[in-house]
């Protein structure tokens, strides 16, 4: 069975009667007709569903919903979709967010025009609250509309309570879905970071304003539900990206409407996704103006062809095969967390410049405040959760034959939390500064060495690997106590130096959550005298 879905977002209808929008009264039909011609040329003379992910109106002009309805009706007619198969989600421009009270007491009242507007597209609603509605499209096809604007300040992505998440998971998804189900989720603000999004680097606090970070718990729980397909549809960002992550597909589509006099580096856009039993294929359509002057209003839709997003797999966790290499080759544990780490470091200015003497041989010219990075409970929980999956995939022995070692504060936190989940003994040690900054009780490894004798596999957790020398020395110390043991290393950050790729002799697996950060490393002999460029921190314990 093949199903096709048209995704359109961010119509931003401001002045239907004016002359500055592609969706103006005198042009929207031509605009949609031209899109249809291109979609048809790719083999689709109709689609089964249309998903619209918010910002139907511009800046809370809810009085425009009547005109928006005309545009949607024409879309539906052109693409052969009946009203019940139109799936809508609210965006932050679909209510007057500037009038929202701090205690959110008028949130529902402000959104009422939107609720009234989408009534005609309701179809078979199985369950709904102001946070979501869940509708059945066919026997095994469902649409979940999430309001990511509720409990928001300044029109940014809002908050969501655990109880609301529980309700969506327990009362809706687990109740109605099974392993043969396909779930379409409309959610205006992206629930994940899209690392390729160029806009993120152009606006301060971009992620806070555009990513629904506070709903990461909801995302985590949805992804644990075993269903055939989960497809997230996002808008808001006015940019495009598509990716597959942890058995789900994420589609971020550029805006469809809006004032064309406002400059944007990104074209107007629509996408079609086709799902069949073997494949998910996305067709992207961009509207290109014929001249550099967008105000000429003359443009054409272009199809950029199709791309396969994922080959549909049976619902199960994909396990990595443990490496048999004696040199551990770096693997990224989770792309999404990597993006989150990079964003958090950037937005919170956690990368400091200075001279950080990490060993007698090297100094690092950058320092990451990894403790502050990991003070985020959400990030810490996700890293711990993903570390568990990584261990489960890579460690072959039983928990009683395994040992965790947490190095430094963050390594210790992760090791101790995971030790409870896996019932594995763990030890926590400092590793920097040749033990000089810690008490003898903190650095005493006698109990560890005694335990190593009967250990088959060790998992080491560490915050940052800069040159790899310190961790390599520690690994060799462990090997000297038990040469038959397999050793696995998991770091939060591993320095990405092209000239000195990190390899740790003797480890079976080496995973990191972030390998995108470059931390300049210089031999001390190549740096100016300390009287000229003093050490910000000296871990050699000399000073």
């Amino acid at each position: 069975m093949s199903i096709s879905i048209l995704h359109i977002t961010d119509l931003h209808l401001n002045d239907f009667e004016g002359n500055s929008e592609l969706l103006r009264r005198r042009f929207f039909e031509e605009y949609i007709d031209k899109l249809f011609i291109k979609v048809k040329a790719d083999g689709y003379d109709k689609v089964d569903y249309i998903v619209l992910t918010g910002d139907f109106s511009d800046r809370g002009k809810t009085e425009n919903f009547g005109d928006v309805e005309k545009i949607i009706s024409y879309l539906a007619k052109t693409f052969g979709v009946n009203e019940a198969n139109i799936c809508c989600t609210i965006g932050n421009h679909d209510y007057k967010w500037k009038e929202e009270k701090a205690d959110f007491s008028n949130s529902v009242e402000l959104r009422q025009p939107f609720y009234d507007f989408i009534k005609k597209y309701e179809g078979t609603i199985l369950k709904s609250t102001h946070r979501y509605f869940f509708k059945q499209l066919t026997d095994k096809f469902f649409f979940l509309s999430l309001d990511s604007t509720l409990k928001s300040i300044d029109g940014n992505p809002g908050a969501i309570d655990d109880s609301e998440i529980d309700e969506v998971i327990v009362d809706v998804l687990k109740k109605y879905l099974d392993e043969d189900s396909t779930l379409l989720i409309g959610c205006h603000f992206p629930i994940i970071s899209y690392e390729n999004n160029f806009l993120a680097s152009q606006e301060p606090n971009w992620h806070e304003k555009h990513v629904w970070i506070k709903a990461s718990g909801l995302y985590d729980r949805i992804k644990n539900i075993k269903i055939k397909n989960t497809i997230w549809f996002h808008g808001d960002v006015h940019a495009s990206d598509q990716k597959e992550l942890e058995n789900a597909t994420f589609l971020l589509t550029g805006r469809f409407g809006g004032d064309i006099n406002k400059t944007s580096e990104f074209p107007r856009q629509a996408i079609v996704i086709n799902i069949d039993d073997e494949d998910q294929r996305v067709y992207t359509y961009n509207y290109r103006f014929s001249t550099h002057l967008a105000s000429a209003h003359i443009g054409e839709w272009e199809s950029s062809g199709s791309k396969s997003i994922r080959t549909v797999q049976p619902v199960s966790l994909i396990k990595q095969k443990p490496s048999e290499d004696v040199v551990g080759h770096l693997s990224i544990v989770n792309d999404e967390i990597e993006a989150q780490i990079m964003t958090t470091i950037s937005e919170n200015e956690l990368f400091k410049f200075g001279r950080f003497k990490t060993s007698y041989k090297h100094s690092s010219l950058g320092w990451i405040n990894v403790n502050k990075l990991m003070n985020s409970p959400a990030l810490l929980s996700r890293i711990t959760e993903k570390s568990f999956s990584h261990i489960d995939a890579n460690v072959t022995c039983s928990s009683s034959e395994c040992l965790f070692i947490g190095l430094e504060v963050i390594g210790g936190i992760i090791a101790s939390q995971l030790s409870v989940r896996t019932n594995t003994k763990n030890y926590i040690f400092p590793i920097r500064g040749n033990d000089k900054f810690y008490s003898s009780e903190e650095t005493n490894k006698e109990l560890l060495f005694a335990h190593l004798v009967n250990t088959l596999e060790v998992v080491i957790f560490i915050d940052v690997i800069s040159s790899g020398n310190t961790i390599a020395e520690f690994v060799q110390l462990l090997i000297s106590k038990n040469q038959k043991m397999k050793i696995h290393v998991i770091s939060i950050i591993s320095n990405n130096m092209k000239s000195m790729p990190i390899k740790i002799e003797g480890v079976t697996s080496y995973g990191t959550f972030c390998n995108k950060l470059k931390i300049p490393l210089v031999e001390n002999d190549n740096l100016p005298e300390e009287s000229i460029f003093p050490s910000t921190l000296d871990f050699t314990g000399q000073n």
């Binding site: 729980r221 409970p377 810690y438």
Partner: protein, 328 residues
């Protein structure tokens, strides 16, 4: 990885009852991210306890901190108790009574709620002696806590001065031994969590943040933050040897926060006093200190902050531990 869980490490058995805690089962089953939800895997662990424990003893399940129950989580429990011969007493879960009733569906397992005692009784509907439930539970857990912490005392070869404070000791309580053992760690964390909740409620604190500043304090603070939905801050490190690597903390102004310092053991209180200075430099206040054990009394810092300790170290080592002031 083949995970080997021991049923006995998820519960305590006393003369009359078997005790467990839902958050422990959630942590073991799903990790800390779902610790406040009772899901199917946590329920499977409870089922193991029901099946493996003495059938004549009622099972007491502490639901403190659980905010919701997964719809299918209780199916196997209801099924196991269907003959109504075994009694399961849910304490601190009265707010979920409707959820239990809703998820019971067609099961013939009896459910009785006792709002006076804030409990829910599943299965056998026999009178419950709540004083006995409470006293036996508290005694068992208290014995566990004291013996666990006492066992961490390691004698030095000879008396020496402790790193952070002018005290000479013949040994040291070492919390690494609590952290390294998953059985000890998870249960001690629950003690701390209850104490933290008490501190916050009794003092009506808001705007609370947890602070840790040592290698052995951080594992406790971080998991307490996650369990109780409280922000936490980790500084590397104030002690036992004072060497601060997090250079920029001094410049971070953060007014109006009520900090609670989480540490392992307090001997002279040097780390706590450094923490207090640090917090005040930020424009906030160190309100409480919560530790596993302390040589000092609760009011040792009475003009500054309150010290809460799970145990008094003076009582713990049966005279083995000796601490005295360093005078030269």
């Amino acid at each position: 990885m083949k995970i080997e869980h021991k049923v006995a490490e998820n519960c305590f058995v006393t003369t009359s009852y078997v005790y467990t805690r839902a958050q422990i089962l959630g942590w073991v089953a799903n990790g800390t991210s779902l610790i406040n939800i009772f899901e199917k895997k946590a329920s499977d662990l409870l089922l193991e306890i029901i099946r493996s424990s003495d059938k004549s003893k009622p099972l007491v399940v502490n639901f403190k901190g659980i905010t919701n129950i997964d719809e299918y989580a209780l199916d196997s429990i209801f099924s196991e108790l269907e003959d109504n011969k075994r009694q399961l007493i849910i304490v601190n879960g009265h707010g979920l009574a409707d959820t239990f009733l809703k998820f019971k569906k067609n099961s013939s397992c009896d459910i009785n709620t006792e709002s006076g005692n804030q409990s829910i009784i599943l299965g056998k509907n026999a009178p419950v002696n709540y004083d006995k439930v409470r006293s036996e539970g508290e005694e068992a857990l208290s014995i566990f806590l004291k013996s666990t912490l006492a066992a961490t005392f390691r004698e030095f070869d000879k008396e020496k001065r402790l790193c952070s404070t002018p005290i000479i000791a013949n040994g040291e309580f070492n919390s690494s031994e609590v952290i390294s053992n998953p059985f000890s760690f998870k249960w001690v964390v629950m003690f701390l969590s209850d104490e933290l909740e008490r501190i916050i409620q009794e003092n009506r604190l808001n705007n609370v943040k947890l602070l840790s500043a040592s290698l052995r304090g951080a594992p406790f603070a971080s998991v307490l933050g996650i369990i109780n939905h409280i922000e936490f801050e980790t500084i590397d490190h104030f002690g036992p040897k004072h060497k601060v690597f997090d250079l920029d903390f001094i410049h971070q102004q953060e007014r109006g926060i009520n900090y609670i310092y989480i540490g392992d053991f307090v001997f002279g209180g040097t780390e706590v006093k450094i923490a207090k200075t640090y917090v005040e430099m930020k424009g906030s206040r160190l309100d409480h200190t919560l530790v596993l054990g302390s040589l000092l009394s609760k009011d040792a810092f009475e003009n500054d902050f309150t010290l809460s300790s799970l145990v008094d170290l003076n009582d713990l080592s049966n005279g083995k531990a000796e601490f005295k002031l360093f005078t030269k």
